[in-house]
Symmetry: C2
Subunit: 274 residues, 2 copies
């Protein structure tokens, strides 16, 4: 399988968290990347208006906004706040020209996961009209089961597909992230199912380092770990996905390094291992 042209290479601003949006954009463009996924912290720091200007001049395609979600809550008021915040995220996405908001769906420690998923599904259903009006899609991103306590009650592509099927809206699909899903023996078949649903809205790559030094921020460059990234890409593409491939690498280690040099290593890892 051949490597992916840089014209399909997208990077998440969180990957180079120490950089301002303006500096990030310049370095990504110099590296030859074609797309950018913007995290809300980067937007908040630069301000929406300035961000719009930076992104419009960047020559980079804005692929998505990360992230909405965190829907479940033990009381109605908090659930409404979450919905309001997600409507703001949708508006921000529309403002910067991002066609997609990625949803980290949320979980509450001690709330039964089934109940959390019910709340998640109801919340996404409630957002569909606003998303449609804004011309923005929503992607359910299943997270690794190690985040089932606080970050996502949706832990498999199967569960995300079930929701997509029931919500039955062209506005709602899934994000496949190799880090969260590589361990799953149903991954290939569930990716195929996402494809049949026309629901593969985005695809994230990085790698799983051994040993994992931090449960949150120790992602590896593609090729540094045990995830068969290229194989999973082949499944996603066989299922019809031909969009940008997004590099989302949280790493306490890499954030401490020179970010321009880091981006150059990312570029090589993309060419060699994706």
């Amino acid at each position: 399988m051949s490597s992916v042209p840089l014209s399909r290479c997208c990077i998440h601003t969180i990957t180079t968290r120490p950089l301002s949006l303006a500096a990030a954009v310049e370095i990504y463009r110099d590296a030859g990347f074609a797309g950018i996924t913007v995290w809300r912290d980067a937007l908040a720091t630069a301000g929406i208006k300035e961000s719009v200007r930076i992104l419009a001049l960047s020559g980079l395609k804005v692929v998505s906004l990360c992230r909405g979600g965190f829907f479940p809550a033990t009381d109605e008021v908090d659930r409404r706040h979450a919905l309001d915040d997600n409507r703001r995220a949708i508006d921000e996405a529309a403002a910067i020209g991002a066609p997609l908001v990625v949803l980290v769906c949320g979980a509450v420690p001690g709330m039964p996961l089934r109940e959390a998923r019910k709340q998640i599904e109801a919340s996404i259903a409630a957002l569909i009209p606003h998303a449609r009006q804004a011309g923005v899609k929503l992607a359910i991103e299943p997270l690794h089961p190690m985040y089932a306590d606080t970050r996502s009650a949706v832990v498999t592509v199967s569960q995300a597909n079930d929701m997509v099927e029931r919500l039955a809206s062209p506005q709602v699909g899934v994000t496949i992230d190799v880090y969260h899903t590589w361990w799953d023996d149903r991954l290939e078949s569930e990716i195929a199912r996402s494809g049949r649903l026309g629901a593969i809205f985005s695809f994230h790559v990085c790698d799983w380092r051994t040993p994992l030094r931090d449960i949150l921020n120790d992602r590896g460059l593609m090729g540094e770990g045990c995830i068969p990234v290229r194989q999973i890409r082949s499944w996603v593409e066989r299922a019809g996905f031909d969009g940008m491939i997004e590099m989302e690498i949280f790493s306490n280690q890499y954030w401490q390094e020179n970010q321009r040099e880091f981006v150059s290593r990312i570029r090589s890892a993309f060419i060699e291992h994706v």
Copy 2:
């Protein structure tokens, strides 16, 4: 649902790792626990002969030996060494009167999980005659997917059940551990399936703390986290399990505390939350 009598309460020596086997046994008995699962490091430190004497005098029922497994390897020699080591574990179990060896099946970073599972299944098959002769059973313990890189390519009860079905030996069953499996939406139905296979050989409890401070050694006491321990116990019992309930709590924090006081807290947690 009522609490479990202490006559079904078993504890793993690793839970009080700082204690010698002799000291552990005394404290467990004082707490009113009825069973003990012995880890091989405790055996190695005390020596088999002395361990046999300590356990015989303890009045505690030896529930299992932890742990065998770690089968997959990239070359034939290492796979043979793993089998030899597992035969020794079976012999040790027989020596101390443990009817069961729990298997942490293993994984090799970068080896496809499917290939690792093939090797695991072949290795268990190869051990069955030795286990039968020794009068020792083998339990496949699915581990949490966050350990799929190095500790276990078997990450769901579903996969363990599949193996049990194919191996079709009364010698081979599963261990259900709430920590490894609570996130799984198929857990209830797969526990029921294990029950139909007559294959629930053991049941481990602890809790999942939020935030998780260490990927290996930050397990909580039952009731300290988000796992519905009592609900999962009800599933296991509905599937026919009426054996000892084993407390297996690795914790850097708790190992630093006074172990007699810790055991007394474990006792309360067992009564209140299991």
